[in-house]
């Protein structure tokens, strides 16, 4: 199962305008791990994700996905292995109907006819969006768009699922559904998110990026207990780790 491993070795990326987005990032994610990459805005999270399927090329350093180093020659295989769900689902849903959008990946993989149908149906079923198959993307709600965007990636049967802020901009019910869907994906998962409660629920391991460097890499609960480090990286403990606000208020009132 070595194809589920992500190895990042001293990765640096400097944009054309001179911004150093990543300044030597190294970590290894093994099979079946669920890892959150968190950090303040501009910490380098999205830049890091865009390296994972070869859209951005490292200024220096190396990336290995499974058995392959990321090079131009291995790119098609790596893009099949790494399924990427983007921040804005409108960027991901570009075909006229949901069905065609989910079929886009499998068709590019060379599947045909009934095989494509099966893949599409399965993927839509997994995200609970089978009833949306004939709808055009612009007629979906935010949560539906997000679920269909995930289905487009699941239809390619990726070994590694990479998601950029999966729960941003959707309502609590949609968020809960999404967390359930993500939990069901048993292969390697990598997220970036500002939704630290979701991170706490889904990811046993957390990496904090701060100004292009790794500030922490360890078990999520441990990382979130280090409040000084969180504050230094412009982060806060997830709300679920705070005491209940209502009980706290009631306690105060009772004391008074």
């Amino acid at each position: 199962m070595s194809h589920h491993i992500v190895d990042i070795i001293d990765l640096c990326h400097t944009y054309a305008d001179g911004t150093e987005a990543l300044r030597g990032v190294s970590f290894r994610i093994t099979h079946g791990e669920s890892v959150a990459v968190i950090g303040a805005n501009g910490a380098g999270k999205s830049t890091l994700l865009l390296h994972l399927n070869g859209y951005l090329t490292a200024t220096s350093g190396a990336i290995r996905i499974g058995d392959f180093p990321l090079t131009k020659g291995t790119l098609p295989e790596i893009r099949r292995t790494v399924g990427m769900v983007f921040h804005d689902p409108d960027d991901q849903l570009f075909m006229p109907t949901v069905f065609e959008d989910v079929a886009f990946g499998p068709l590019n993989l060379g599947l045909m006819g009934a095989d494509v149908d099966q893949r599409v149906e399965d993927a839509l079923e997994r995200v609970g969006a089978a009833h949306l198959r004939t709808r055009p993307p612009y007629r979906l709600s935010g949560g539906e768009k997000k679920r269909v965007a995930i289905a487009t990636v699941l239809a390619m049967a990726p070994d590694i699922l990479v998601m950029d802020e999966p729960t941003s901009g959707i309502d609590p019910y949609g968020r809960r559904q999404l967390i359930k869907i993500i939990k069901e994906f048993t292969h390697t998962k990598i997220f970036t998110s500002h939704d630290l409660d979701m991170v706490l629920e889904l990811c046993p391991r957390t990496i904090i990026l701060h100004r292009g460097l790794i500030a922490a890499d360890g078990p999520t609960e441990e990382v979130f207990l280090n409040t000084a480090l969180l504050a230094q990286c412009h982060l806060e403990q997830p709300l679920s780790m705070h005491g209940c606000l209502l009980c706290h208020r009631k306690g105060k009132e009772a004391a008074a």
Partner: protein, 270 residues
């Protein structure tokens, strides 16, 4: 911006009609595209003073609306929306062409007025046919049909993307314009400076989005070719649909039906 917003919303509604389940909806899109083209060509091929002979062509939109279960009032409203633009062009004809053509007692109608009326009727027919085509087939279906009929794939894909993202773009434009209005303290109109800035921002944002869409496509194995899932079959139903309508259009084009009816009635009376 509100005007564009409304127009785009209308387009969405038309697309919704295209999800209907009638026999006409289920026909292969190519058949409907070809019939619409033959219809438009037949209507446009008349001489510029022809008015009466155009009326029999209304049978096509009427039959299609009935068979496709389309709301006639809604389609009529869409056509009326285009008429002012047609009038802006046709209204110059009476000024230029003053030659007397018809004498009705003391009133004389010039060639200019006749050709103006002819242009308006033709517009109603052709615009109506186009709207009916979109409501029965959907924009996507039309693009696919054009591609299957020989239009290069690059154009078809461009059209599809234009259609997909026109909604996203107008929403973005709408938001930017609303933000500007809210801060313009009741001042009406758009100064050149703020207009330039608004449009250039929109362009840059579109550019960035195009880049992100491209990444999303590459991430799903896109190599430059679009594959189709289930090509529809151009079968017997489609062939009969094309032949029947084309025959009717050619017949109406070659025979002056109103005159034919007139002479028949006159003969019966005498």
């Amino acid at each position: 911006m509100r005007y564009i917003d409304g127009a785009v919303r209308d387009f969405k509604d038309l697309d919704l009609l295209a999800t209907g389940e009638t026999t006409i909806h289920r026909l292969d899109a190519r058949a409907k595209v070809v019939v619409t083209l033959v219809f438009i060509l037949s209507v446009l091929s008349f001489g510029k003073y022809e008015v009466a002979a155009l009326f029999p062509f209304f049978i096509y939109p009427a039959v299609m609306m009935a068979l496709g279960n389309l709301p006639a009032g809604y389609i009529a409203k869409k056509i009326v929306f285009v008429i002012p633009f047609v009038l802006a062009v046709a209204i110059f004809n009476p000024l230029v062409d003053g030659q007397l053509m018809i004498q009705l007692g003391p009133f004389g109608i010039t060639g200019g007025w006749v050709s103006c009326a002819s242009i308006i009727i033709r517009s109603i027919l052709t615009v109506g046919a186009a709207i009916i085509l979109v409501s029965l087939t959907g924009f996507t279906g039309i693009c696919r049909a054009l591609e299957q009929l020989g239009m290069p794939q690059a154009f078809a894909v461009q059209l599809l993307f234009l259609y997909r993202y026109i909604f996203v773009l107008t929403e973005e434009g709408g938001r930017a314009s609303r933000a500007r209005e809210l801060r313009s303290c009741g001042k009406k109109g758009l100064s050149l400076a703020s207009y330039t800035s608004l449009v250039s921002h929109l362009l840059l944002r579109t550019w960035e989005r195009a880049e992100r869409i491209h990444i999303a496509m590459l991430a799903r194995g896109f190599t430059g070719e679009f594959h189709t899932i289930h090509p529809k079959r151009f079968g017997g139903k489609e062939i009969s649909f094309v032949i029947a309508w084309s025959a009717i259009f050619i017949f109406i084009r070659l025979q002056d039906i109103p005159q034919l009816i007139g002479t028949t009635v006159m003969r019966m009376i005498s």
